[in-house]
Structures are given as structure tokens and as C-alpha cells.
């Protein structure tokens, strides 16, 4: 019999330290599979965030930076501007990208850095123990919203993909989810497209993953897949939010 599904080469064969059911692992795998598929592992420099996914450093078989909390897009800018031949991506959580790193992501997008950003939105600060994130949904209980996120004092969840899509410069912005196999399959194609835009010299590609945090959501992994679908999708609709125009030849959009 043939193996029809196995490890990606770009993944180091070391068990993930993530909590049971945490979809960070799935997202790592998708990225690794696409790196393999595109044959770019030796050109890739990845940038890990501060957040649970800081450990992606230890899981990918390619050159990796560890960036400070929120600043991965700035690190990516420095790396890519100096070595345009590299394929540069960041991997960031919602605290990292949508809170402390807001400036860096907005301006990397707006300058049109030729990088790819993977944004893992699990609606909570995972690593630090489950505080409210800017992407927490209304009513969501976290360790700093004991009675649920109150829109009167905390506002509504920030929708980074739409916000970045309101800028003129960036080439590709899409949102995918990890809550069901068919969404994971769709996500894989989106990851590939995002890298392909970078390889084609197009500026800034961005993929938002809706992801689970069973531990801090206080649910079983299967419950959290359901919760993601039911509670997060209404605030974070899936799909390609911005794509380069059909006649784009690789430079900026007109």
C-alpha cells in the first residue's frame, strides 16, 4: 500500500507541546506541507511570535527567527528588504498581531512588504492564560472578562482581515477556519496561494486562521470546534477578502 498521508519533510518529527485539540498544530502542518510542495524549504525564513506558537521555532525545518511580541512583521521587513531572494513569513497570534502588533502589521501591509503573514485567531491570549484578546467575541468569558466581553466597555471584536483589506496596497487577504476537515482543506489551498503571491513578487499576502484554544475556552477539543463555528464565524466570515486584479503581473496593484 502507498502512504497517501504522512508527515511533511519541513516538519521536525517531534511531538507538539500544544494542548490536546489545539489547532496550532494543524496550521503548522499546513504551512509545512505547502513549503514542501513548493520546494522552497531552503529559501524560507520564518518568524515566530510571542504566544503559544513561539515554539514553531522548534517544529519547522527551516531557518527561523524568534521575534518580540507583535513585531514579527517588522522583523520580516528587515529580513526581506535585505535578502529579497528569501521567502519570508510570519506566524502570529491574535494578541501578537491584533493587539500589541497592530502598527507593525498595518504598515507592513501598507508598505506592501513582499512577505506572507499567517494570523492565528483563537479569540484569546493562549499562552498567558486566557485573557481577553481584541478578537474575543461579545459575551466571551476570559480571565479578564469574568462576566463575558462587554461591548459597552471593550467594543466589538477587531476584524483584522477586513481592516487591512481597506488599505489600497496589500495584494491578498483571506480568512479560513480550522473547525472542520473541509475548511482545513480549503485553508491549505489558501496557504499555497499566499506563498505563490510572494513567489510571484506580489506584495503582502495575509491569511487569517480561525483556531481553537480548548484550554482557555474551558471546553473539550470537540466542543471548541463547535464553539468556533457557532460563535466566531458570525464575526469572522470566511473567504478571500482581497485578491490581486486578474491582469496583475506581479508588481503593485495599480
Amino acid at each position: 500500500m502507498n502512504k497517501v498521508f504522512s508527515y511533511a519533510d519541513a516538519l521536525i518529527r517531534k511531538p507538539f507541546h500544544y494542548c490536546p485539540g489545539c489547532t496550532h498544530g494543524t496550521i503548522h502542518r499546513l504551512i509545512a506541507e505547502v513549503i514542501d510542495e513548493l520546494g522552497i524549504r531552503e529559501r524560507v525564513v520564518g518568524i515566530s511570535p510571542v504566544g503559544c506558537a513561539v515554539f514553531i521555532l522548534d517544529y519547522l525545518r527551516c531557518d527561523m527567527f524568534q521575534a518580540s511580541h507583535g513585531r514579527a512583521p517588522a522583523v520580516a521587513t528587515g529580513a526581506k528588504r535585505c535578502r529579497p531572494d528569501l521567502v519570508v513569513f510570519t506566524y502570529q497570534g491574535d494578541g501578537d498581531l491584533a493587539a500589541i502588533g497592530t502598527s507593525e502589521i498595518v504598515h507592513a501591509a501598507n508598505r506592501g512588504e513582499r512577505i506572507t503573514v499567517f494570523f492565528v485567531n483563537n479569540a484569546v491570549y493562549g499562552m498567558t492564560g486566557g485573557q481577553m484578546a481584541p478578537t474575543s467575541v461579545p459575551g466571551q468569558r476570559t480571565t479578564t472578562t469574568p462576566h463575558g466581553r462587554n461591548t459597552e466597555t471593550d467594543g466589538y471584536p477587531v476584524n483584522m482581515s477586513e481592516m487591512l483589506a481597506a488599505l489600497h496596497t496589500p495584494a491578498y487577504i483571506a480568512r479560513v477556519s480550522m473547525h472542520a476537515p473541509k475548511e482545513i482543506i480549503a485553508a491549505r489551498h489558501v496557504v499555497k496561494k499566499a506563498f505563490e503571491h510572494q513567489l510571484a513578487g506580489r506584495c503582502f499576502s495575509f491569511v487569517e486562521f480561525l483556531s481553537t484554544c480548548p484550554t482557555n475556552w474551558g471546553m473539550t477539543p470537540v466542543e471548541s470546534l463547535r464553539w468556533l463555528e457557532k460563535e466566531m464565524l458570525p464575526y469572522f466570515p470566511l473567504g478571500e477578502i482581497k485578491v490581486p486584479p486578474a491582469d496583475d503581473t506581479g508588481g503593485r496593484m495599480p
Binding site: M1, N2, V4, G21, G25, P181, P221
Partner: protein
């Protein structure tokens, strides 16, 4: 003919594969693995479609899938070019 292999020691017992399997042939073990988790098991291997959905959903890379000969692909996952 298809079959999957669950790397029991990598399994963290999240049950994601259980709900992903379209034919419902996965279930959790009674006993614990070395990490202390109930792990996923195949209940009725003969019914496995080789659809890969369990493996695709597993966050911990604990499942490999094998298929006989020219495997019928239910959907595009990897690019065909590979």
C-alpha cells in the same frame, strides 16, 4: 483497500479525528498512553475509505493513511503536481 495508522504515542486524545471520520469508524481507547491520554483507535478497519479526513484533522500528526494502488481521491488536498 485503505487503512490508517494511528501513532498511539503521539495521540493526545482530542477526538477530533473521531468526529471527522465520515464513516464513523474511529473511537477512543479505554486505556491510557504514556502521555496519559485515551488514544484514538480504529473500530472497523475494513470500512475505511482512505479519505484522509481523520489525518487532515489531526492537530498532532498522529495519523498516517495508506491506500492500495491508484487511490481514488475524493477531493484535492495536495496539488496534483506533486
Amino acid at each position: 483497500m485503505s487503512r490508517i495508522r494511528i501513532m498511539t504515542e503521539r495521540c493526545k486524545g482530542c477526538e477530533t479525528c473521531n468526529v471527522a471520520c465520515p464513516v464513523g469508524i474511529l473511537k477512543m481507547s479505554e486505556s491510557l498512553n504514556a502521555q496519559g491520554y485515551h488514544y484514538s483507535m480504529v473500530d472497523d478497519p475494513s470500512r475505511c475509505l482512505g479519505c484522509r479526513l481523520c489525518a487532515i484533522s489531526c492537530p498532532d500528526l498522529a495519523i498516517e493513511v495508506f491506500a492500495e494502488g491508484a487511490h481514488y481521491r475524493f477531493f484535492a488536498y495536495e496539488s496534483e503536481s506533486r
